[in-house]
Symmetry: C2
């Protein structure tokens, strides 16, 4: 009967992955059933298990899909245009703050949500989430390293550890936003993060 709404052949997998991004961010991984995903994607269960051997495998693929989507978003953002690497780092932080708008489920992180629930019960999915976070961290490290060499070469912290710290602040900010029911508290935390980075690179040279 609903021929008009039939989905084009070959698109089921992508539609399931796109649906997973939204549904899992709103409901969590465990509370999201395969049927929920099929309904949101507009496909049948048969199509689902044709493309994914299990729910966990979908989760792993969704983590990679999230990595691809957000990777494109950040790669295309224009904070990269700054000549000074510190401006690129601060531009990244500002970009993250600007994103904090609208519904909570729209700006929070898929892999942060998933790994919170499944880290001890689904090793492969945990590893996939870790890969996604680590690959995003890797895109920050080079700018931070350059900024450190230029502005704070003797600092007692590593570029890697600061890059991971930015992710800790963001992930924690998402949790507070979920608890309070709004983005404002998250933006406050990102502003503290910006101030911290400014101070790290503004310190007077050793006297």
């Amino acid at each position: 009967m609903n021929q008009a709404t039939r989905i084009p052949r070959g698109e089921a997998r992508r539609r399931i992955l796109d649906a997973a991004l939204n549904v899992i961010r709103a409901q969590g991984y465990s509370a999201t059933s395969v049927d929920d995903l099929c309904k949101a994607a507009g496909v049948t269960k048969g199509a689902f298990f044709h493309h994914f051997a299990s729910k966990e495998e979908l989760g792993v693929a969704a983590a990679q899909h999230w990595s691809d989507m957000t990777g494109g978003l950040f790669a295309g953002a224009d904070y990269h245009r700054h000549a000074d690497p510190l401006d690129r780092v601060l531009g990244y932080i500002d970009f993250r703050r600007d994103i904090l708008a609208g519904e909570v489920s729209e700006f929070t992180c898929l892999v942060g949500t998933m790994v919170q629930e499944i880290y001890d019960t689904h090793p492969d999915l945990r590893a996939a989430c870790n890969r996604t976070i680590a690959s995003h961290v890797a895109t920050l490290v080079e700018d931070i390293r350059q900024a450190r060499e230029m502005h704070a070469p003797d600092a007692d912290w590593s570029a890697e550890s600061l890059a991971w710290h930015t992710q800790a602040v963001l992930q924690g900010a998402f949790i507070l936003a979920k608890a309070k029911g709004g983005a404002a508290i998250a933006a406050d935390s990102v502003r503290h993060l910006r101030r911290y980075v400014e101070m790290l690179f503004a310190e007077a040279p050793a006297e």
Copy 2:
């Protein structure tokens, strides 16, 4: 047959709550079934639903129980002995860092884990988690306010926002620890937080 292992009358409720703290932190809220909780607590399903009208109501009670347990832990810690409020704030941060040891599920936060999953689907439980975090934040605000007045009265941030920021860092650090499978990365982030607080209160007066 197992008369010896029968649990004393009146202890079922407490045992369920204690079990919930551990099981939910390890498996997440949604993935934890009522039967899981009953098994871990050594009680029957009948006892469970005698004390809690629903799984969500158990979650709400567990958030309060967590608040009571951790509230006692922090109230009894000896960073409160410092005369300078800044030392109390830094002592709190060090205390949080020292706690980061052992199994991930033993140092992570119950309400952070729960609210991540259920913020959009279980309003009462979300509110309970928010109350727990807010009440912990409240225990920090007074020390931060005093430290601010003493060391940085003209700062362009509020005591409340810094207190919430500490929780963002901690919650985010837990997520990274879950993703990476160890406490080390979390301790790194808490060290960044300490450095930030030190710098906030060490700034030279306006020139």
